[in-house]
Symmetry: C2
Subunit: 216 residues, 2 copies
Amino acid sequence: MMAIAARVGIGTSMTLPTLEFWFEFASTYSYPAALRIGPMAAALGVELRWQPFLLGPIFQAQGWDNSPFNIYPAKGRYMWRDMERVCATLGLPFRRPEPFPQPGLLAARVALVGLDEGFGEDFVRAVYSAEFADGRQIGDPEVIADLLGRLHVEPGPVLARARSDAIKSRLRAQTERARALGVFGAPSFVTADGELFWGNDRLEAALSVAAGPDGR
Amino acid sequence: MMAIAARVGIGTSMTLPTLEFWFEFASTYSYPAALRIGPMAAALGVELRWQPFLLGPIFQAQGWDNSPFNIYPAKGRYMWRDMERVCATLGLPFRRPEPFPQPGLLAARVALVGLDEGFGEDFVRAVYSAEFADGRQIGDPEVIADLLGRLHVEPGPVLARARSDAIKSRLRAQTERARALGVFGAPSFVTADGELFWGNDRLEAALSVAAGPDGR
C-alpha cells in the first residue's frame, strides 16, 4: 500500500517511472514498436517520452550512406520477411514501402511540433501506418498535411512551425542526444537510469526494467 | 488423433519436424541459444540439425574483416550490456571473452567430428560455456583437448580427424550452404521449408514455426 501510494505520488503523477522511446520514421521495426508501445506502457504505469530523431547522421558517422538493409542485401531480404512475420503475429497490416527508406525529415519535424501541441503521439502512429500499412509517400508535404487534417489539426501553421529554425535545430539536438545516449539504431528505449534497449523485440524488457520491481 | 499418429510416424521418428541450428563459436548470442535450444526443441517434438559454420567468410564478403561489434563501437558496447542482461534473465553465467572474437575454427571442425561420432551436442555446449562462462581460450588445442577429455572422448584421434582434409572441406561446404540459405549472422535457424530466423531472440518463433500447427 505504501509503495503504491509512493508510486502514484498521492494524487500526482510526478513519481511515475519513465521510458524514452527513440524512433526514426524510416525505420521498419519502429512501426510495430510505435503502434503497440502506448497501451503496453499504460498497463505498467510507465510514462513515455516520445523522442523523434534521425538515423542518417548516426549511420553516416559509421560510414553508411544508405540503410544497412540496402547496403547488406542478405540482411535486407531477411528483414522484409521478418517484418511480415512480426506484423502478422501482432495483427498489424504491412506493406513494403517503395522507395525504401522513405525520407522522414519533415515528419520528424512535425512530430516535434505535435509533441509540443498535444497531437504528437497520434501523428506518429498515423505516419507509421501511412508508410508501412498504406504505402504512402511520407516525404510528401501533401501526405503529411492530409494526415494532420485527419487528426483535425490545421496543417498550414504546423507545417510552417515545422520548417522554423527553432524546430530544425531541436531535431538536430535530438539526434545529438540520441548519439550521446549510445543509440545506434531504431527503435531504441532508454530508462531514467540510462539503460539502453534496441529493437522492437526489446520493448517488453525495456518496459519491465523501467517499471522496476514495484511496477504494476 | 490422426494428426498425432502421423506426426510420430506410428512408432518411428521419421516424420518429426526438424529445425537447422546454425552456430558460430565466435558469436556471442549463439551461446545462450546453444545452451537452451535442446530442451526447448524436445518439448515441442522438433528434431534439431546442429550446423557449425564460419561467419568470417560471410562477413568478409560484406567488407568486414572483424566482428561488427568491434567495427561499430556503439553497437559493441550495447551488445556486451545486452548479453549481461540476456544471460542474467536466463540464469546463465557470462564473462566477456578476451580477446574477442575468439578463433573458433578448430572447435568448429571438432564439432563436425563430434556430430558424426555422437558427442557433438555436448561438445558444442562445452565450448560455449568454456568461452562465455569460464573465459577460456577456445582457439587453444589444449583447451579443446581438455573439453573432450571431460566428455570422456580421447582427444588425439578426434583432433587428428578434425585436421583432415575431409573435415576441412566439410566445414567450408557448411559455410557455403549457410550463405546459400541466406544466413548472414549467428545464431540462425532454418526450417525444413527454408524459413530463416536470425538471433537468439527468434528461437521461440523458429521452433514454433518448425513444430507447425500440430506441434506438441
